[in-house]
Amino acid sequence: MFNAKDFIKNTVGLLKKNIRGKALIAFSGGVDSTVTSVLVNRAIGDRLIAVHVDTGYMRKNESSEVRQLMDDLSLNYRFVDASKDFYEALKGVVDPEEKRKIIGAKFINIFEKVAEEEKIKYLIQGTIAPDWIESGDGLRDTIKSHHNVGGLPKDMKLSLIEPLYDLYKDEVRKLARELKLKISEKQPFPGPGLAIRIIGEATAERTKIVREACYIVENEIENSVEKGIMEKPWQYFAVLVPVKTVGVQGDKRAYGNIIAVRAVQSIDAMTCAYSEIPQEVLDRISTKITNNLGDKINRIVYDITNKPPATVEWE
């Protein structure tokens, strides 16, 4: 059985031995990258530089919360606001794989720039098993290119270190609990962020809409879990489907987009069952989204597909 204490001890020992000089970690503030940072930080202290990139596709308040987290962990960090760059790079891009690859490459560009300035030799990532399994290789089909695997250039100068490579999320959470990190139960959020929760072109305007919808879904579900009305899903969010349907709002014809609500149960994301959200919670989500987003959204649907045949995220 997986033993968190042993894993921490062995990994910190190995990192201490193997890292000479400075290292950079891609820090999103999720469970994987936070656990990885703490392990590497224990091994090499301030020689580790955490870099958080605000891609413009983060959730509401997320980047400021991540900054707080890096402060709380006393990490030596850099905060890069690259939202304009990302919006620009994704202009006119609709293919999900293309989106993921562009975003992955942009991340690496930023990391390489920081690495050059700071004379860093190692890139550390919180990659876990499903990331590289689903990204595919010579043998396996590509289900989706995870940004931290599919975007890596072949001629990258930085040496890659991925201490959690063989682990699944439930095991990383065990490490987080052992390390007493308050983000241990935080739901997963994909590296490409809201860009892959917008079907089609991920414009700044659409991002605002899906960000608000995600915020409402998260709030309503978290409140209901706290009240004991429902079990906590593995992941829960909104997807913007830019297809127009007809509605009526205040005696006036409406013609707006669709928001799909997605929530699934899983322990490792390799298989998932859609969550049974109680009717009253769905009801509150539906009313809140349509009332808050006015003429932009006039229809809410609930995704009732398992994985397989679907995946958790829509892109």
């Binding site: 059985m1 997986f2 399994i133 043998l139 396996r140 390799m270 994985k307 397989p308």
Partner: protein, 191 residues
């Protein structure tokens, strides 16, 4: 400690098979399907799992050296999905594209009593599937063990050798008795 290796045919859940075995305190690792049988003998393995595969390889592909293992091994082998389909083809059965491919949650029915692999598993249970092809004719030396409404050959075993084939995936979390099936397989490898 019992030693069971996972032969990687390129499935999405190969690593999950490795993890299930490791969690059950088995000494395990993932090996490419091009590994020589002699290497397995030198390693003194007690059993093998033949993983599922990348798209459609169960239908016609040779799956590396899997035929060597099936021909020469005297230890138990568990074929999963493409591994199961290949086992059927190797022993003279037939694999064809499914009329109704199964993805996700499916109910299966165990058809035989007193099968060691299914000890402690109820007659009806929920399993997770992901296949476009299936075994349509079971080899003569094999016996049918389980079916679902949309796929008639969900599980089979060799009548005299410790060879087992499963169309569904016991290694994933949502297959309710998956861990139980692995435990039964491990017990057979221990002997």
């Amino acid at each position: 400690m019992v030693k069971i290796f996972v032969i990687d045919n390129g499935g999405q859940w190969t690593h999950r098979e490795w993890r299930t075995l490791r969690d059950l305190d088995v000494q395990t690792k993932i090996l490419p399907n091009t590994t020589d049988f002699e290497y397995l003998l030198n390693q003194e393995v007690n059993g093998l799992v033949l993983s599922g595969g990348s798209p459609r390889i169960g239908l016609t592909d040779k799956l590396g050296k899997c035929s060597d293992y099936l021909e020469k091994a005297d230890f138990p082998i568990l074929g999963i999905c493409a591994g199961h389909q290949f086992m059927a083809r190797f022993f003279g059965g037939e694999v064809k594209p499914s009329k109704i491919p199964e993805f996700g949650k499916i109910e299966i029915f165990i058809l035989k009593d007193k099968i060691k692999l299914f000890e402690g598993v109820p007659k009806k249970s929920i399993v997770w599937e992901s296949h476009n092809d299936e075994v349509t004719i079971i080899p003569e030396e094999f016996e049918l063990l389980a079916e679902s409404n949309t796929c008639k050959i969900q599980a089979m075993h060799h009548r005299t050798k410790p060879l087992f084939g499963l169309q569904f995936h016991p290694e994933v979390e949502h297959t309710v008795y998956g861990e139980k099936i692995f435990k039964n397989f491990i017990r057979m490898c221990e002997k």
